[in-house]
Assembly symmetry: C2
Homo-oligomer: 460 residues x 2
């Protein structure tokens, strides 16, 4: 195996050629949501399979009910090193609205900006440029020697449509895909100088609640105040879910929620996250939520409860004095730590039932749930990856949380019993899913160098 | 002026001819909501104007921007008697769904039922049969002598479409229409044996409330719990409007609400209103609303507050983890006694503003309001009418409230400074607005006799 310096030098030397490869991939219109682009999705899968095969991987395009997967395997120089599963996705969002693009979305180009050179095109950040950082790192190892770790690559083409084929594929190919650790390159940096490892993903449990009163809409003049109003009942359910301090009132809700380790809390405080700017960007000025918690803490590491939608009665123009037969709302809970979606859902349902006035009936429609994911802060692989990133960027990586969910990471944990290291080089202003999507050249170049360092570190 | 007995005998003798006249009127398809029937509406107006002219009224069909009015005047035998304004409407609801009618809706007929003979056809109860009870009473007086009171008749053809032309017409013809007391025959009896005088109509004030938070919809994964959720804020507003005893919490809300006079309360208790049947008919079993108040008291004489509609965020199928930028609800308050719609609206707005979390803004859209109407229980005309009905039905008339509003009555009070006696002979099972609408023959016959007695009583 070549010394790390040789590998990093090769990445530097390869940069122009690497960009040409990325441009080829980006020019393939692999829009997964539109059946008209099914052939392009297949072409992107074939391109990547060929790339990996050319690097000595045992690579294949694997059909699914939807767009195909790419699976590729490569051995390491030594047998006693970890087996890593790298995941990325080659599908992209539709480029609409086209008229807002300053250059054609599928004709990638380099643009000079104040902050440096950047690559512009649909999918450069999400996720083609990101996944190519990993493949370029692998190339540099292969071109200068052997891989430091055993590597399996899994690339899907349905991430932007909710990965419908993935669970089936994981189950059917469990033996082939199981590894010691998963790597995902679909997240971002803290800022353009500071890398991040996402170690926490909040879980989610969603419940739609329909409250019914009378068996028909009533005239509020005739029945008003004598007949129960399901909108009132629903409002009381919602209002009672948070106490005056912004805490969620379900019994036992916080039982499985641990406080942050002090060193992580200290690191987050040191980030001096600009709450005013974060909220100000969307027209707000004060943090809602739990009193005494910072915004970063709340969105990265605390559970939450939101009503995402509500409807009942007359919602057209003007007024109509109807006393509606039903009202409904969609609730979602973001979960952290060891919170169990099933238990939270059950506790919520019990609370709703208990809150209901007589004469109201309730129906619950679950819309799925997933546990939170936590990479142990003390894990050896996290420490090694962190030191590797520190070496590349000369800045301490932020051990970040992520308020949203990345379902594949949950599947890796639940179906393949693997932890995941989420390392990515996207920036907040990359305009992912929007016109003029871009990826910083530094993200692409130093991203590949970062993966070389991480692979090297994980093998030692 | 003939003795009352002569007049009543004449009504009895006229019954078959009166039915023929009613059938003629019912066979005119005066559906006001559908422009295709504009000529029928005009024909109904002409028919009624001709009827009144044939009785010696100075009658005319008066054009409006919509369907015409009928106005007719007749002097009384003596100059020192009250001037009464009788109001009714000749327009009817569309007969749809036609397939549910057992006989053609505009071909009225007599049907034998267990409870007696009934007239079936669109509009027989609402309001053609009812208004004809008054005209038949007037006919009997005219055919046997003179009228006991000076009478103006006002019949409109837009009641089923919200009476758009009426306020303009009242304002333009104030001098002509002002009288001592208005009579309206568009309400019901307590039951088939017990007449009723509706002495209270609840008022109404409506406010639409839009609560806004962030300046766009947010991702609940990224902002959940850190950004204010307008649905939660709105739910707290709604939940806080009633206390645990079902009372409305707005400061001063009940200041202008008087308790019922004990004799009226006692009468209502004696009615032994079947709350279980009333609620059971719509699938409910327990009264909501103010603790310690009967259902009848609540819907007839107590104010209420209902949310008639609510909407916010994602309301499609499945779930979407959006944190919505806004949520809105339509509130309506039923008012009683001297409650002032403007003051109640102001108090509500102040309450909402005070309830809002920081970072939420509110917009109010008023959809109109009207004061409650109360005929003083001690009024002389009420006592006289009550005794007259008692004589006809051999049962004490119920001094009823009405949960809904009859806008014309408010206009009579506010624009013409007249109180209104609401006396009608409809029954709960008349299927008003529905297929197979009917009017009891006894309602029609004894209704005419009742009006003869009431006119006689008011003149004394």
């Amino acid at each position: 195996m070549a010394a790390l310096k040789t590998v990093l030098d090769r990445i530097d030397a390869n940069l122009e050629a690497a960009l040409a490869r990325l441009f080829k991939l980006v020019s393939i219109k692999s829009v997964s949501t539109d059946p008209a682009f099914a052939d392009d999705c297949a072409a992107a899968a074939q391109f990547l399979s060929d790339e990996l095969a050319s690097l000595g991987f045992e690579a294949s395009v694997r059909p699914t009910a939807g767009h195909p997967m790419v699976v590729a395997h490569a051995k390491a120089a030594r047998p006693d090193v970890p087996h890593l599963l790298f995941y990325g996705h080659y599908d992209v969002q539709p480029p609409d609205p086209l008229e807002l693009w300053e250059s054609p979305p599928f004709e990638p180009k380099i643009v000079e900006a104040e902050t440096g050179r950047r690559i512009v095109g649909r999918g450069v950040a999400d996720d083609k440029g990101q996944l190519m950082t990993f493949i370029e790192a692998v190339r540099a190892f292969k071109e200068t020697g052997d891989l430091p770790c055993k590597i399996t690559v899994l690339l899907e083409g349905e991430e932007e449509t909710g990965s419908p084929s993935l669970p089936v594929f994981l189950a059917a190919n469990k033996g082939e895909l199981e590894a010691d650790l998963a790597l995902v390159c679909d997240t971002g940096m803290w800022d353009r100088r500071t890398p991040a490892i996402t170690t926490m993903l909040r879980g989610l449990v969603t419940e739609e609640v329909i409250i019914r009163g009378a068996d028909r809409d009533l005239h509020s003049g005739i029945f008003g105040s004598a007949a129960v109003n399901p909108i009132h009942a629903l409002a009381r359910v919602i209002a009672g879910l948070h106490d005056a301090d912004g805490k969620i009132t379900l019994p036992g809700f916080y039982d499985a929620v641990a406080e942050l380790p002090e060193e992580v809390a200290e690191q987050w405080r040191a980030l001096k996250f600009d709450e005013a700017a974060f909220l100000g960007a969307v027209g707000l000025s004060v943090p809602a939520g739990e009193k005494g918690r910072s915004v970063l803490e709340m969105v990265w590491s605390r559970p939450s409860c939101d009503v995402n939608g509500i409807i009942g009665g007359y919602t057209g123009k003007g007024s109509k004095t109807v006393l509606p037969a039903q009202a409904s709302a969609k609730f979602s809970f973001r979960l952290v730590g060891a919170q169990d979606p099933a238990k939270i859902a059950e506790s919520f349902r019990a609370y709703v039932r208990k809150s209901l006035p007589q004469d109201c009936r309730v129906e619950f429609i679950p819309h799925g749930g997933s546990k939170a994911l936590n990479l142990p802060f003390s894990s050896e692989s996290l420490s090694r990856a962190s030191r590797a990133l520190q070496a590349e960027w000369d800045a301490t990586p932020v051990l970040a949380g992520c308020g949203g969910s990345i379902p594949i990471v949950g599947s890796f944990k639940s179906d393949l019993n693997m932890d995941t290291l989420m390392i990515g080089f996207g920036l907040e202003d990359d305009r992912v899913h929007s016109p003029n999507e871009k990826y910083e050249l530094s993200s692409f170049h130093k991203g590949a160098r970062s993966w070389a360092r991480v692979l090297d570190a994980l093998a030692l």
